[in-house]
């Protein structure tokens, strides 16, 4: 076969991309002054260190369970707070439900702002201004995840079929009625799925809110690690792990069922 009849070999850009990414990574490692060699040299020390976690000490279990219960309560309250705020904001942030462009932009930017500030940062600010305790944690989780839920709900609303909305508008329904009878029935599955996902995430995050003094089990973990009580830390990690895993599986199963 003559070469001219062969199709031109497509230009493969993959090596260029890989080279560029590797160069950037190498520059980052140089700039951050990381030395992975120390990790290799010290791997025996690391094994010894992680060996200290091998026999968890459950002598304070009752206290841990009280803290765990508080953690779950924070997650639950935070999620419900986010749910309420998200539901209120979502219709304004959905392009097909919003009264006008200005309101739409304001609602979108508000949701962006809530999402952009990480929950621990918000918790830090609330703890500094309201004092220690679980309440700042609830507020931080609520505000941060309201940004996510509001965005998810708004996106679900935007996917509602135009025909459905027009049909309900044709009956002379007001904007609230369109939302109730056109929007809500179409998005309720996604609504439940997203809410479960956020609840699952909040259970996980509530476990670390204690690091900044916002209640829950994180504070005990931090304290035990700072005082080198590794056996207590191991017990605490297990106490956190069990409900998180249980909840993860439950919510995954429920979300599968909703589909």
């Amino acid at each position: 076969m003559k070469m001219a009849l062969m199709p031109k070999k497509p230009f493969n850009r993959a090596p260029i991309w890989i080279a560029a990414v590797l160069t950037v990574l190498w520059l980052i490692i140089l700039h951050l002054d990381l030395s992975f060699q120390t990790l290799l040299y010290g791997y025996k020390d690391l094994f010894e260190y992680f060996g200290r976690y091998s026999s968890p000490d459950f002598s304070n279990l009752s206290r841990y369970l009280v803290l765990l219960w508080q953690t779950l309560a924070i997650a639950f309250w935070g999620t419900i707070l986010a749910l309420v705020a998200g539901v209120v904001l979502a219709p304004f942030a959905a392009r097909n439900m919003t009264p006008n462009r200005v309101v739409y932009r304001i609602a979108r930017e508000l949701l962006n702002l809530m999402r952009a500030l990480p929950d621990l940062l918000l918790a830090l600010i609330f703890v500094a201004s309201m004092g220690l305790g679980p309440l700042p944690g609830v507020l931080a989780l609520g505000i941060h995840t309201a940004g996510f839920l509001g965005k998810f709900f708004a996106e679900s609303l935007e996917r509602v079929d135009r025909g459905v909305i027009e049909a309900i508008q044709a009956t002379g329904a007001s904007r609230t009625q369109v939302l109730m009878y056109g929007g809500w029935p179409s998005i309720q599955r996604e609504f439940l799925g997203n809410s479960l996902y956020i609840l699952e995430r909040n259970v996980r995050m509530a476990a670390v809110l204690g690091l900044v003094g916002a209640g829950g089990i994180g504070l005990a973990l931090n304290a035990s690690l700072e005082t080198f009580k590794f056996r207590e830390s191991a017990a605490l990690i297990i106490v956190i792990l069990v409900p998180v895993l249980a909840f993860d599986n439950l919510s995954t199963w429920l979300r599968e069922k909703l589909k």
């Binding site: 309250w77 990480p118 305790g133 679980p134 995050m205 670390v208």
Partner: protein, 266 residues
């Protein structure tokens, strides 16, 4: 003729629908039950309003301009940590995801094992791992990167595996019919089809990790969070707002960039 102006519920019986009412009732009962545990009460909230206003007045001061170069430095460090951790995780996740996908894993038992391991890795947030790694190898960005990469492997492998599971089996058979080996089938049939989803997952995780990296400093694992908690503890009020605004700007910027990128690829 029935009176159509009568207020009634839009159900067949005209009574409130049972399931939603029950679930709302259960939620409200749970809220009431857990309120004292979460210390949610209107009195506390009301009493803290003046302190919140006081705090806001404190942080709404002229920013400390001399701090800006250090802020830029720390922000760059945060971004670098995010990028490095996500890349390390991607390199580990790519081969692992073929074992975690039902249609490419050679042994069913291995598939279940990998999935269970991944859900264990995902269970704890990166902050907990950062705490553990900081206490193992000391302060600095390295434990932060390790913690981020570790948790990210759990999420990324799951996303990758889900993308691999939905590839078109006909392309796989087509490539295999040419006598391609196991690895060649994966590279030329599975990978190209799952690629857009991979990029989407990576971009989503990059966003998520940037948020995570801004916080790792709270436990001394590098990044902007360290400056945040220090200025909070030392009452350097003229820095707090600048840091918060910087985090907002960087997170939003990456959000927009990744949205654009994702829209182009998919």
């Amino acid at each position: 003729m029935t009176n159509c102006f009568q207020l009634r519920w839009p159900t067949r019986s005209g009574l409130p629908p049972f399931a939603p009412v029950l679930s709302v009732g259960v939620v409200v009962a749970l809220l009431a039950w857990s309120a004292p545990v979460a210390e949610v009460n209107a009195g506390h909230l009301y009493a803290s309003i003046p302190r919140l206003i006081d705090f806001l007045r404190n942080i709404l001061v002229m920013p400390d301009w001399k701090y800006l170069p250090q802020l830029g430095q720390k922000m760059l460090e945060t971004l670098e940590m995010t990028f490095l951790a996500t890349s390390i995780a991607a390199v580990i996740s790519l081969p692992l995801s073929f074992l975690a996908a039902r249609n490419t894993c050679p042994f069913p038992a291995l598939f279940h094992g990998v999935r269970a391991l991944l859900s264990l890795v995902r269970a704890l947030p990166e902050m907990v791992w950062a705490l553990v790694f900081v206490s193992a190898i000391g302060l600095g960005p390295l434990p932060g990167i390790m913690a981020l990469a570790f948790v990210t492997v759990g999420f990324m492998t799951k996303f990758f595996a889900e993308a691999i599971e939905v590839v078109d089996q006909r392309a796989v058979e087509g490539v295999a019919a040419h006598g391609a080996g196991w690895l060649q089938v994966k590279i030329f049939a599975h990978l190209p089809q799952a690629w857009p989803d991979f990029i989407g997952a990576i971009m989503y995780i990059l966003d998520h990790n940037l948020r995570g990296a801004t916080l790792l400093g709270l436990v001394g694992a590098g990044g902007i969070g360290y400056d945040m908690i220090m200025s909070m503890r030392l009452f350097d009020y003229n820095r707090i707002l600048v840091i918060a605004v910087a985090i907002y700007i960087v997170v939003t910027a990456l959000d927009r960039v990744s949205d654009q990128f994702r829209a182009r690829v998919i």
